[in-house]
Amino acid sequence: MIPIAFVHPEFLWGLAACAIPLVIHFLNRRRLRRLDFSTLRFFPSAAVQTSRIRRLKRWLLLCVRMAVLCTLVAIFARPYPTRDPFAVLRNPDAAIFAFVDPTVSMDYRENGTPLWRTAFDLLDTLGRTLPPAAKRFEYNEARGEFLPVKKFSRPAGSFTRHGPAPLHKMIAALAAMRGRTAGMPLLVCLSDFQENVSAVLDTQLAQCGDMPVLLASVAPALPWNCGVRDVIASAANRSVVTARVSCAGRGMHAAGVTVTAGGMRVGHAVANADPGQSVSVPVGVTSDLPNPGRMVALDSDDPLPDDNTFYFVQGASGALRVLVVGDPAECFPVSAAFSALGPSQWNPVVRPGSAVAYDDLDSAALVILCGVRRLSPQLAMFVHGASQGKKAVLFSPVLDSSDAHANDVLLPLQAAGSLKPVFDAKPHAIVFPDTVSPLFSGFGSLRNADAEVNSYCAGLKGAVLMRLDNSAPFATHIIDTMGNSWVLLSVPIGLAAGAAPTPGSLFERGLYVPLLDRLARYALSAIQKEPLSWIAGRAARNPYFGAQRGANVFDAAGRDIMRWSNQPLVVFDTPGLYRIQPDGDMGSWVSVNMDTSEVTLTYRAPHIGPSQTSSVKFLPAGQFGPFVGQRRPGAFSRWLWIIVGLLVAAEVLLWEKKASPAIR
């Protein structure tokens, strides 16, 4: 028995009409009439049998007539199965919350139509099939909440913007609205479900509880996206710019990579790539114009134009030098991690602790002390405050109890003498605090269980940035007397000499590389040496926050577009070249690029937890319309009309003439 409900239950009063054939039947069904007749000669036994069959037929006819009326009433009442959580689409009490992914990837044009427009067309289709009384809400990103609308309408202008999808805020807004809105809620999320969007939904969908969620994909079936994903402008060799060009969906042949500087074409190369391939294209440049930077563009008919026409690089800034001090074998993972973060940003160099030179220390923006047991005189001088300028230091302790004092030698005075190695058989996970803070922005997809440690140093001093799950500090930050910025870790980040990585250690986890990146940037930010790497749409730390001064920001055309003063976070809306003009100081150019995750067209469905398999439905592209069509009010009508037709045909078959010819 399928539990059903009705869109228009008031029509069920029409079932009273079923009484009409019943009454007529019983009115016509006279009581048995006795007839004394002249002969039974003409009433053989077949007549009795026929009479019984006919009586049965009359009952059948009555049933058929009542069924016809019931079916007609059902057609008007519009039944739908309530067991289907998405049957709410037929319910006049439904509250439909619509969210359309506003990220840049939704600008992908398939047959000339952007994906976001397709998404709104689908919403429009949904809106037309919903019962008129159903409530409709659209997510308004500017206000960060769902606003009631009379109908789902497509925005007149552009819809997408740079930056990650506001899924956290959307789901938080949805939770808030659910408490205030009567009716049966349904979240309709229309997106292309890129990897980064799905990664967020993997964890956020659980917050929807048992509320039905419809995830409708508008991803292109065979995305064709060729774009510049990265640009490497080496400070050592300024005559070459290397563009990393990736190709998804279809092959790219004889596409041109053009480098312009100051509006002038300074280099050109031809790129070929197969689907799914990423190639590095070195482009020789004829001039070395320091400002306003270089723009690398890919000449192709890419349906997602943003990622190949605006990719900028500051030719003069180069990469920050990272000095990794420690045993080269032990420090290998650290240098490899920084190399993987992008040669254009980090330039790691490994030196043994006993062979660190002054030049190494002076030229490095970031010093990583990774399990150092023996100090060179130069390093000892650096630790005790005799370096040129302020440095950022990332300290990784030694856990060997025999060299326990080595940590104290390396640490600044305010932190020395407190570290005690601890081994706990029970592994401890790293606990992430607020993932929307500047430090951990972008860590949304990481979970605590991504890293577990058994050995660590207790007694870490300084401002705690992260902790283990037993509340012991995992990372702290201190500024020493010379103004150096120290980030102290309680867990070694290097590989113990001659030892294989322990299962569950940091190396084994995807956390390792981004964690080092973020901690290094945090240490640099304290001395205002954070590399200038701006991503359009992504909030970044305001370099003038707390500096008692501000800056004006100008676009490439010289227009004053915003003022940075004391806000903690700033954001560039679109990629491009911008000039930051601090108060009373020289201005500098910055390049703002796209978030490559937004233009890497890798699609996948979000993981749906076992408890949500019935309430969350992922619809691949092209299936939203049929899915909604099957659940539109009156979707059963076609079948019900067929049933009516069959019943009428049955009635015609069962119906019999009453008139009998007279004998003349």
Partner: protein, 298 residues
Amino acid sequence: MNNQISFLKPEHLAPIRNLTLRTKAIVEGTIAGLHKSPYHGFSAQFLEYRQYLPGEAARRIDWRKYAKTGRSVVRVYEDETNLFAWLLLDKSGSMSFSSGGAMSKYEYGRTLAASLAWILIRQRDAVGLYAFDSGQTLLVPPRSTNSQLTALLSRLSNLEPGGATDCGNAMERLAVSLSKRGLCIVISDLFDDPRAIIRGLRHLRFKRQDVMVVWVLDPLESEFLNAGTLDVRDLESGGRVAVDGLTASEFFSSGILRHRAALEEACRSLKIGFERVVTNEPFQKALLRIVQKRRRMF
């Protein structure tokens, strides 16, 4: 001609319980309708001329012959006496059926028989009565006297229907006893085995009888009920059948049509007059049809 006749309907005659009075009313009307007819009776078989004898009614003189020859002669028919006519009246239980009208089939048939007897005796034909069912029979030998009419009407008045229909055997029994040729008018609903009926009719014809079958039906037997559910009880056997009206109507209509077709076919082949009358039909109309049919046959 019929349009000028004011027919008396059975329901008008039903209150007249005295059969004599009722028959007189019918016959007077019927004769009024017949007065222009060149025929004056059932006995129409011419044999020869004979000399007019004083004392005889002058109307019997053949005036045409007299005009041609100057002799007064009288037409002599085949039988010196009038026609010998038998009225075979079915008085079985089925004849007592009435669907609520004024008269049952028996009442109607009895009135018809009385009327025919009246007409026949009035023209000096000898009329006998043979009322039958499966058991008791009443036989009144034919005579042409006025007292015969009184006797017939009296016997008819006292008869009550009952018993099973046994038309075929009754006709056979009568045929066995017949020696003279004559006229047999069978008044019955003929609800018997058609083969037995045909056998009886054939026997009568074998005995040189002119036969006229008057099939008396009730209006309900002409057009059966087709609604409701019926508990049909046989008036003769007491048997019962529960059928719905539509089925009963279908089976009865088809059955009685087959029955009729069989009898009509047999009558046609045996040169027997067959006339169907329904008990809601005016008597004079039925009588006229019967008399005229009889004349068309010969």
